[in-house]
């Protein structure tokens, strides 16, 4: 027999709010893309794609094997034996690194030296703290810090989706970008989740990069130029000579050299060297003796540099090129790759 409560419950969902109109349009676009694959790819074309993909994987394996044998490069693509269906979602810890985190298709994967592994958590952005003690992630409209074993450390209501996060090398501060109602805002917060403050109310959706001394970080302003913010003096300065369309910034893991990427190319300034990446082409425009350039093609161009006594690599992959620089010990923690791209972990020994 239906009670009064049950009769009330039968209509209770009508009291729920309406979804935002833009949310529906985005969801429809996603759903239609999911519909496209089986509907539009004829069987013969699917077979051709599969054969091409298999050939590419064989070539990739041969390239990685020969490089590893030469002792120059260690490449990890996860656990191919176990995860043949979704290799891009599984990470293998690079040799010498404390941890690695990656966000692929909105899902976070974390692996640390301590053996902790998180996989598949839906996030909007993520970054590991130094020594991989914590991972900061955008979940819903919050910035959340958790231990790599999943234990919750703190959460902070960000007032919008967190779209980019960078943890300072000393662990004391986090710079992050929030997409609020008024646009993209750059904020900083202490590593314990307190002292949140606004740095710039109009920025681009680019992950900030901290300088090795943790006293400054680079980001991209609304005008598209690279800006360095000094957290000690609370002053910002546009990087001299910066392009007006910077899409990425990356400080070197040692010293104070800054690399920026612009448009479809990445430009690195490292100890006086300038290298330009255009698609699969790598052009060295100014090369002092201390720089060694390796025009490798392994799911995307890879540059390796020796500078200030340390070796590090810049990886550019997929349709959304990114610079990822780091030594074996300070491997850049997060690769945010476009949909369908591989997660690549590269260490130059």
């Amino acid at each position: 027999m239906s009670s009064d409560l049950e009769r009330r419950l039968e209509g209770f969902l009508r009291e729920a709010p309406e979804p935002g109109p833009e949310v529906g349009e985005r969801a429809l676009a996603r759903a239609l893309r999911a519909l496209e694959v089986p509907a539009r790819l004829p069987r013969r074309r699917l077979r051709a794609v599969a054969i091409l993909a298999a050939a590419a994987l064989v070539l990739l394996g041969l390239a990685a094997g020969s490089l590893a044998a030469a002792g120059a490069l260690h490449v990890s693509f996860g656990h191919p034996r176990k995860h043949t269906t979704a290799p891009a979602r599984t990470l293998t810890l690079p040799r010498g690194a404390d941890g690695i985190a990656a966000v692929v298709d909105g899902r976070l994967s974390v692996v640390t030296r301590g053996g902790f592994r998180l996989q598949g958590l839906p996030v909007t952005a993520a970054a590991l703290s130094p020594h991989a003690l914590y991972v900061a992630a955008g979940i819903g409209d919050s910035l959340v810090a958790m231990k790599p074993d999943g234990r919750h450390a703190w959460s902070h209501a960000a007032g919008g989706k967190v779209v980019a996060i960078a943890w300072a090398p000393d662990g004391l501060r986090i710079a992050y970008v929030v997409k609020g109602e008024s646009g993209l805002v750059l904020r900083t917060i202490w590593g314990n989740g307190t002292h949140d403050s606004v740095v710039d109310r109009a920025v681009r959706r680019v992950t900030p990069s901290w300088r090795a001394d943790s006293l400054a970080f680079a980001y991209v302003g609304a005008g598209g130029r690279a800006i360095v913010h000094d957290v000690f003096h609370q002053k910002s300065m546009v990087v001299p000579g910066s392009s007006a369309a910077v899409s990425q910034v990356a400080f070197a893991p040692a010293g104070s050299r800054l690399s920026t990427g612009a448009g479809g190319k990445a430009v690195g300034w490292l100890d006086g060297a300038a290298a330009v990446v255009r698609g699969d082409e790598i052009v060295l425009t100014r090369a002092p003796l201390s720089v060694r350039l390796q025009p490798l093609r392994l799911g995307g161009p890879i540059l390796s540099f020796e500078a200030s006594g340390s070796t590090f690599a810049a990886v550019v992959g997929g349709h959304d090129p990114r610079i990822v620089a780091g030594t074996a010990k300070t491997f850049s923690p997060v690769l945010a790759l476009p949909r369908g791209a591989r997660v690549q972990a590269v260490v130059v020994s």
């Binding site: 969801a27 759903a31 958590l121 409209d141 958790m146």
Partner: protein, 165 residues
């Protein structure tokens, strides 16, 4: 439905528009947060459309879609709970103090445990039978019925307290 399954984007868009609001509201009632509801409902449609070619078009689409919504929401909520050790990562948008009457009812449902909330939303919000819920959540029918009974008991108590206050 058949047009959508054949890959006709207009038919698929019409199917989406017919079910989007209900799916989103169910996701919202389950997750209690707009941002999560956005993700859950969008994920559910993406998965449903990806599998549309294999779907038996003699069966109704809505229960199948809501089954995906419910399981997706449960996956996300369980992942959060595992990470947060039962601490909510962020406050719910939905609370009983949003008002009285059915607004209060919506809030009271939001305060149920996720296991009880999901059966209430599927039973009364979506209109599934206990047998359908059991199949959707891979639970025995008896478990669904007992969760429903306990949820109703809890809701009655919560609403009585609200009425007295």
């Amino acid at each position: 439905m058949r047009g959508a399954a054949r890959g006709d984007p207009d038919a698929a868009a019409a199917l989406f528009r017919r079910h989007w609001h209900d799916a989103w509201r169910a996701a919202y009632a389950l997750t209690r947060r707009r941002a999560l509801a956005d993700d859950v409902a969008a994920d559910a449609f993406e998965r449903a459309f990806a599998a549309l070619g294999r779907f038996d078009d003699r069966r109704p689409f809505a229960p199948w879609l809501h089954r995906i919504v419910a399981n997706r929401a449960l996956d996300l909520l369980r992942a959060e709970r595992r990470l947060a050790y039962e601490e909510p990562l962020e406050p719910a948008d939905l609370r009983p103090d949003h008002g009285s009457g059915d607004r209060g009812l919506l809030g009271a449902v939001a305060d149920l445990t996720v296991e009880r909330r999901v059966v209430v939303v599927l039973r009364y919000g979506v209109g599934m039978t206990p047998k359908e819920i059991a199949a959707a959540l891979d639970l025995p029918v008896g478990t669904v019925n007992s969760r429903l009974a306990r949820a109703l008991e809890e809701l009655r108590e919560a609403l009585e307290v609200e009425h007295v206050e």
